[in-house]
């Protein structure tokens, strides 16, 4: 049998290879998905946070000899989330035979992610994707700065890998509420600077030669304060001129707004990955709207985070 030449977005059945605790509120899933279409950093998937019922898994209910099987008591009592949950892709590796490994770093927030935290290796998950657009790596810009907060950090890890492949000089600024809620591993004997200066400290980023500054709200690791401050200091004092830098950011909206304002004021291009509550991720439910500048009388129009984004040019975003 020949492979289809263009692999389409779709519903795929994944096998969980690992589900590990990363910190107090984040976990990392490693998924094995056969023949998953090509992806780029910034794109996301929609995970079904309950046992899968995609077409590949067979029909949810089978009729036999005029008998309709009843739902099991467990199925009736289970509080299972109806909608899928969107997760950015944190990394991807290819293996022989068309198998792809996807890294998904999730924050346990509600009923869906709580279920996900209990998933075991060997279990199947339904993956819908890949969805959305991606960060753009500029050929003419030699440097990159990553600014991530909390569950906004994962897509930047995938991006860091691609930036390294593209030969970009990359530095990262990472914010978390506290040391035990940082979804990154520290290198042994890591020297996390308290003045907000980047160092080789975060294992996932150091793997791509990226030095990282860490800021925590409570000062339990790195600089005490918000990560935007550490980024601002670097931007002001960096030997690299702003025109040569692309700033990529994902995290809390207040953080991204601050990063955008600083970057644009300094003359750096800035790409932001926005987060919105969404039902479908496929551009149909129209729920994940973001305000983007346009030439209409009101000066903006709604764009969909899932289909037009999640990555937008910071200069085009209208902050409420």
């Amino acid at each position: 049998m020949s492979e289809p030449s263009v692999k389409k977005r779709g519903s795929y059945l994944a096998e969980v290879l690992a589900n590990e605790v990363v910190c107090d509120d984040h976990g990392r899933l490693i998924l094995d998905v056969a023949h998953f279409p090509p992806t780029a950093p910034g794109q996301f998937i929609q995970l079904m946070c309950r046992p899968p019922t995609p077409p590949e898994a067979g029909r949810a209910i089978e009729w036999r000899d005029g008998q309709t099987p009843q739902f099991t008591q467990a199925e009736l009592l289970d509080s299972q989330p109806l909608l899928r949950r969107p997760f950015s892709i944190a990394g991807r590796r290819e293996h022989a035979g068309g198998a792809s490994e996807l890294d998904i770093v999730y924050c346990v927030k509600g009923v869906g992610t709580r279920w996900l935290a209990g998933v075991n290796a060997g279990q199947s998950l339904s993956v819908l994707g890949p969805l959305g657009n991606s960060f753009v790596i500029r050929r003419d810009k030699p440097a990159a700065a990553l600014v991530g907060g909390g569950v906004g950090i994962p897509p930047l890890l995938y991006l860091a890998e691609q930036l390294a492949t593209a030969g970009k000089e990359t530095v990262a600024f990472i914010g978390a509420r506290s040391a035990d809620r940082l979804p990154l591993r520290l290198l042994p004997n890591a020297d996390v600077r308290t003045d907000g200066a980047p160092s080789h400290c975060a294992a996932e980023l150091a793997a791509y030669g990226v030095e990282t500054a860490i800021a925590t709200d409570d000062g339990s690791l790195g600089m005490a304060g918000v990560v935007g401050e550490a980024f601002g200091k670097w931007l002001d004092g960096s030997a690299v001129s702003a025109e040569n830098v692309v700033v990529y950011s994902c995290g809390p909206e207040a953080m991204m707004e601050a990063v955008a304002l600083m970057s644009l004021a300094a003359g750096a291009e800035c790409q932001l990955s926005l987060e919105r509550y969404m039902a479908c991720g496929m551009g149909t439910c129209q729920s994940c709207v973001c305000k983007l500048r346009d030439d209409s009388a009101q000066g903006w129009a709604y764009k969909l985070c899932c289909a037009d984004g999640p990555v937008f040019d910071a200069a085009q975003i209208v902050w409420d």
Binding site: R9, G10, M48, P55, W63, G66, T68, L83, Y277, G283
Partner: protein, 298 residues
């Protein structure tokens, strides 16, 4: 009009045309029902527009859509490629709005029907205002009847009424060819930290499996009290996820079936449901889906 099978998309959950093309073979549907089209483009409500609730979700999109002109220019060619009967859901704030859209659709080959949306709970004017009073329903259906010369006229009923059969009877009297039922239930979710509604619109429309038993009841009520005698088919919808759910609607009196919220989770469920209905018919000794419509014994 005969459809290849009863399965269709529910308006507002499937985009304009080919949004799900990567995920499901839309050409296998019985018909395609578009999201609501209004005379002029609508930006829709402020964010947040959706929230999941237990076994369901609330939405308050506010009929965001590209408007009639862009629909005709950009979406109709995509619909034509599906080679399916298309029913266009039509919404408006005045009767004239509805008439303008429905009239323009008369000259579009691929469009075979208008689904009259007089049941949207999420807009300030129009929508549900027209759909909760039998006299208003009679009036607007009668007006639309005049402009739907070749297209069939489907009236989509709101469940937010005391007696849905009275509304259905008004629509049928005024010339509805079919009834879609049901639209969403007006509902609210509260953020108890901010002490505000979760949705920017305040209220939203509840859909999903949570509403299915009420939808099945209402379909049965309208079938037995109005539709069966009048020979008007019902397109049943409300929380259909599996073939089991679809068969419930057929037994209760639905001829067509629309899947909505479940598409957000798995567009491919349409084919599972279609095939599952076939399995049900085979295993229970029925030759055709028409053999079970309205055969519920009570």
């Amino acid at each position: 009009m005969t459809l290849a099978n009863p399965l269709m998309t529910a308006s507002g959950t499937c985009g304009y045309a080919d949004e799900y093309a990567d995920f499901v073979d839309l050409t296998q549907l019985g018909a395609f029902v578009t999201k609501s089209i209004t005379a002029k483009p609508r930006a829709g409500n402020n964010y947040q527009r959706v929230i999941e609730t237990r076994a369901g979700m609330l939405n308050a999109i506010g009929l965001a859509n590209v408007g009639l002109d862009v629909f005709l220019a950009e979406k109709v060619p995509l619909l034509a490629a599906l080679a399916l009967p298309v029913f266009v859901n039509v919404a408006g704030t005045t009767v004239d709005d509805y008439l303008a859209v429905a009239d323009a659709l008369e000259s579009v080959d691929i469009v075979r029907g208008v689904e009259l949306n007089i049941s949207c709970p999420n807009v300030k004017a129009g929508g549900i205002q027209f759909g909760t009073d039998p006299e208003q329903v009679r009036l607007i259906t009668g007006e639309l009847r005049k402009v739907c010369r070749t297209n069939i006229l489907i009236v989509k009923l709101s469940p937010n009424v005391t007696d849905i059969a009275a509304i259905a009877a008004a629509a049928v009297d005024a010339g509805a060819d079919a009834l879609s039922m049901i639209n969403t239930f007006t509902a609210m979710a509260v953020d108890i930290d901010t002490r505000r509604p979760v949705l920017a619109n305040g209220t939203g429309g509840l859909s999903g499996p949570a509403i299915r038993p009420i939808a099945v009841y209402m379909v049965h009520k309208v079938y037995t009290q109005v539709a069966q005698a009048a020979g008007v088919p019902i397109i049943g919808m409300g929380g259909i996820q599996h073939a089991h759910d679809a068969v419930e609607f057929l037994l209760a009196g639905a001829t067509g079936l629309a899947v909505g919220t479940a598409l957000f989770v798995e567009p491919g469920c349409l084919m599972d449901i279609r095939d599952g209905i076939g399995d049900y018919l085979d295993s229970h000794g029925f030759a055709s889906v028409t053999d079970i419509i309205g055969t519920l014994e009570v």
